[in-house]
């Protein structure tokens, strides 16, 4: 079985989340490995969120903003 990483993506509401949304409306396909959590700004991402994600078994964390 191939390795399928589980990645948590904290996406800024105004840019990267809007981009992910646009990818959806433009019917572009992308791999489902990134699980998106919307934040109002990447500044909202507390380091403890990242630690918590790894604790819960995430293989990677993406902070976009």
């Amino acid at each position: 079985m191939s390795f399928e990483p589980r990645i948590i993506g904290f996406l800024c509401n105004w840019c990267s989340y809007a981009g992910a949304d646009l990818a959806g409306t433009s019917r572009k396909k992308y791999v489902p490995n990134v699980r998106v959590i919307r934040v109002m700004c990447s500044g909202r991402v507390d380091p403890s969120f990242i630690v918590k994600a790894f604790q819960l078994g995430a293989d990677g964390v993406l902070v976009c903003g």
Partner: protein, 453 residues
């Protein structure tokens, strides 16, 4: 303009400049620099005697270098208010301390050389920014020889020349005073060009067509050439106008001009400007000899658009024009609540579009005034006063200056009208006293558990 000035609910401030804007929707404080015009507005009757008597002339900015004006002047006949201003840089009295001819002849005693600049501060609820555009300077495109050849003129210069109150009294004239027998109008100067502006300026096709029509009207037997990339006649009645001009015998050449030269190579080119172009419809290079060339220049953001954007907290799009909140769903508002945009400062547009956008902006402001209160976002930050230690970490981090510190309670206070809900303060607060509503730590942790466990 005149009826706007006489409206009881409108105060018009001309010859003035906004220097500072602070506050937020419903509570803006605006500082305005009132420049001295050296004419007392309460006394001047606009009779124009001072302009007749003034002995000094300077270049007329409104005629783009084609004409002269007096040093005490109104920029153009319909200017509102109909009161002159003294051009301090050219006035003999300001330069050498002598003359005062205008003061001597003014019956209303309205000339006041002692006037000084003053700063007015006003409170306003909303702001509509309508600062317009600049015209692209075609002299940087040296292949067209603007500023080098006498009879290569810009669109705005043509416009002044064809105006009955303009420097030539409405006559189309070459530099030597004779009438041109052939005119070439070059589209897209500075527009649709990766080296200058990539965007289409939207108005040039139509004003170029209008110019052709004016030339045909004033000089019926003139040869007129339109050199275009694509004709973009998008508005109501515009395509019909294009059709009409085709019937008026205008030569439409599909191709972007490469160069203008005065070197004659073939008979009939002597003493003329030769436009070099590839006619892409017949796939042939052409040399078109003409007497006059009009460059249809691009619309570009005002030179100080960056500074104005900073003052009003407006963002700018890649092309430098002010950015609207949403290109399709909210083309009038900006990302700053209470600040609206209209006209060419937001992007190139023609008169009907400008009028529509301006009316929309006015309606949006009136709706807010009528309502009397402002709805704010629910997803904003709040401080738990009990847990706030008063460390002031959040104060420096807030990009919107929405957090202040109360000395009596020693805690941070969030201005709910200014807070955009970004949550940076909540993430940074060492004591966890700031709650980012709808994005609380607990909510995000639960989401993490939801997607991972």
């Amino acid at each position: 303009m005149a009826s706007v000035r006489s409206h009881e609910n409108i105060e018009m401030m001309t010859y003035s400049e906004v220097t500072d804007v602070s506050g937020y929707v419903g509570n803006f404080k605006v500082k305005i620099r009132r420049k001295p015009r050296y004419v007392d507005e309460s006394k001047c009757t606009g009779c124009g005697t001072c302009q007749e008597k003034c002995p000094i002339k300077a270049g007329n900015e409104f005629d783009v270098g084609l004409g002269k004006r007096k040093v005490i002047y109104t920029p153009f006949p319909q200017a509102v208010p109909n009161m002159p201003v003294i051009d301090r840089e050219h006035c003999t009295y300001f330069l050498r301390g002598k003359c005062r001819a205008c003061e001597m002849f003014c019956e209303a005693k309205a000339i006041d050389f002692e006037q000084t600049e003053r700063i007015d501060e006003i409170d306003v609820g909303c702001i509509i920014v309508t600062t317009g555009f600049d015209s692209f300077d075609p002299s940087v495109m040296t292949q067209f020889g603007y500023g080098q050849y006498d009879n290569v003129i810009s669109g705005i210069q043509f416009e002044r020349m064809s105006n009955a109150s303009g420097p030539t009294g409405g006559k189309l004239l070459l530099k030597d005073g004779s009438t041109p027998q052939s005119v070439a109008i070059l589209h897209c100067i500075g527009s649709r060009d990766v080296n200058y502006h990539e965007y289409c300026s939207r108005v040039c096709c139509m004003y170029s067509l209008k110019f052709s029509h004016l030339v045909r009207e004033k000089i019926p037997d003139a040869e007129i050439y339109q050199l275009y990339i694509d004709m973009r006649c998008f508005g109501k009645g515009y395509e019909e106008f294009y059709e009409r001009l085709q019937e008026e015998g205008i030569n439409f050449v599909r191709g972007r001009a490469g160069e203008i030269t005065n070197i004659a190579e073939e008979p009939g080119e002597e003493g003329k400007l030769v436009v070099l172009v590839e006619d892409t419809l017949v796939r042939r290079k052409r040399r078109i000899p003409v007497d006059m060339v009009v460059l249809s220049t691009a619309l570009e953001p005002q030179a100080d658009a960056g500074e104005v954007a900073r003052q009003f907290s407006i963002s700018r799009s890649k092309d430098g024009f002010f950015m609207e909140k949403h290109p399709k769903l909210d083309p009038v508002a900006t990302t700053t609540d209470g600040v609206f945009v209209a006209g060419c400062c937001q992007g190139p547009k023609d008169i009907p579009d400008t009028v529509a956008q301006a009316a929309a902006a006015a309606a949006r402001v009136l709706a807010m005034i009528n309502k009397g209160n402002v709805e704010i976002e629910s997803a904003i930050a709040a401080v738990d006063k009990e847990s706030c230690s008063g460390c002031k970490t959040c104060l420096t981090l807030c990009s919107y200056n929405a957090i202040s510190f109360t000395e009596e309670m020693k805690v941070a206070v969030i201005n709910e009208a200014l807070c955009k809900g970004c949550g940076t303060c909540a993430a940074a607060c060492p004591s966890g006293a700031i709650i980012s509503r709808h994005f609380t730590t607990q909510q995000i942790m639960t989401q993490l558990e939801g997607v991972l466990v």
